[in-house]
């Protein structure tokens, strides 16, 4: 079984705070990440697909196809934005856990439309010290 992973980067801002919590409660829960003015990260996203190797191209999926998809659906969408304003985070705090899941949801169906490879995982590096992975149970 072969998986292909490509890594993409975008800078974005977020605020970790629930609308239904007081500022003090958000501060207690999320610490400095609840700063109402926001803060930002250079996010790095690893997108992993799995599928049969095409006998002709020798590839699980064309790199340029995957790059175009992730550029459109992820990098252009989230790069240089405040993530809290994206509809994917309506009623949902844009923690890195939720970002990984949101990216998975944004990529799953369009990846399947490209060919025989299927999305199997998304890992989000929020800093060099933290990363969060979402994988469908296989």
């Amino acid at each position: 079984m072969i998986e292909l992973t490509r890594r993409y980067c975008f800078p974005a801002a977020h605020v970790l705070a629930r609308d239904d919590f007081s500022d003090a409660d958000n501060r207690r829960l999320y610490g400095k990440c609840a700063n109402p003015g926001g803060h930002g990260h250079n996010y790095a996203v690893e997108v992993t697909v799995r599928g049969p190797v095409d006998a002709d191209t020798g590839e699980v999926m064309g790199r340029s196809q995957l790059d175009a998809l992730v550029s459109e659906r992820v990098v252009a969408r989230f790069g240089h934005r405040l993530l809290n304003e994206d509809p994917l985070f309506d009623g949902r705090v844009p923690t890195a856990e939720n970002i990984a899941h949101a990216i998975y949801v944004a990529l799953e169906a369009p990846t399947a439309r490209l060919g025989t490879a299927r999305l199997v995982g998304v890992r989000v590096h929020e800093t060099r010290k933290n990363s969060f992975a979402y994988r469908e149970a296989s």
């Binding site: 079984m1 072969i2 998986e3 292909l4 992973t5 490509r6 890594r7 993409y8 190797v53 002709d56 191209t57 020798g58 590839e59 699980v60 790199r63």
Partner: protein, 138 residues
């Protein structure tokens, strides 16, 4: 059961070419990759095995390194995949095909106390393919 990973890095040239196609036809199919180019590949081998109660080790790392030197470094480092190895006469040397070649070579050469779990081949910092060995009954 404990896994042990060891990585090697090697510098290798290649070009994507299908036998019987002209240079122009290969370029039309594979783009810039049809020209001779090269990568600093990183290969991470992960094996698993039981910890020996006497040594406290799964295996002697020197033995793993010797296998990597013999099967990977000696064959591929500072070589050309198309001209200097017999593996890509009919296969394009994509990372997907290359990792399958490496898997066959390494499985046959590993010491008996370990078995292959994963093999990650990274042609550049933002791309990797991973062979995942199917789970075996213990």
């Amino acid at each position: 059961m404990v896994t042990l990973s060891r990585a090697v890095e090697f510098s290798t040239s290649l070009r994507y070419a299908k036998a019987g196609l002209s240079d122009a036809e290969n370029h039309a199919r594979f783009g810039d990759r049809a020209r001779q180019h090269g990568h600093n590949y990183r290969l991470e081998l992960t094996v698993c095995g039981a910890v020996d109660p006497v040594t406290g080790m799964v295996t002697d790392l020197k033995d793993i390194q010797a296998v990597l030197d013999r099967e990977v470094m000696d064959r591929f480092d500072h070589r050309d995949l198309n001209c200097d190895t017999p593996f890509f006469e009919k296969l394009v040397p994509s990372p997907e095909n290359f990792v399958r070649v490496l898997r066959e070579l390494l499985v046959a050469a590993l010491p008996p106390e370990v078995r292959l779990a994963r093999l990650r081949l990274q042609p550049d910092a933002d791309t990797w393919v991973e062979w995942i060995e199917p789970e075996q009954a213990p």
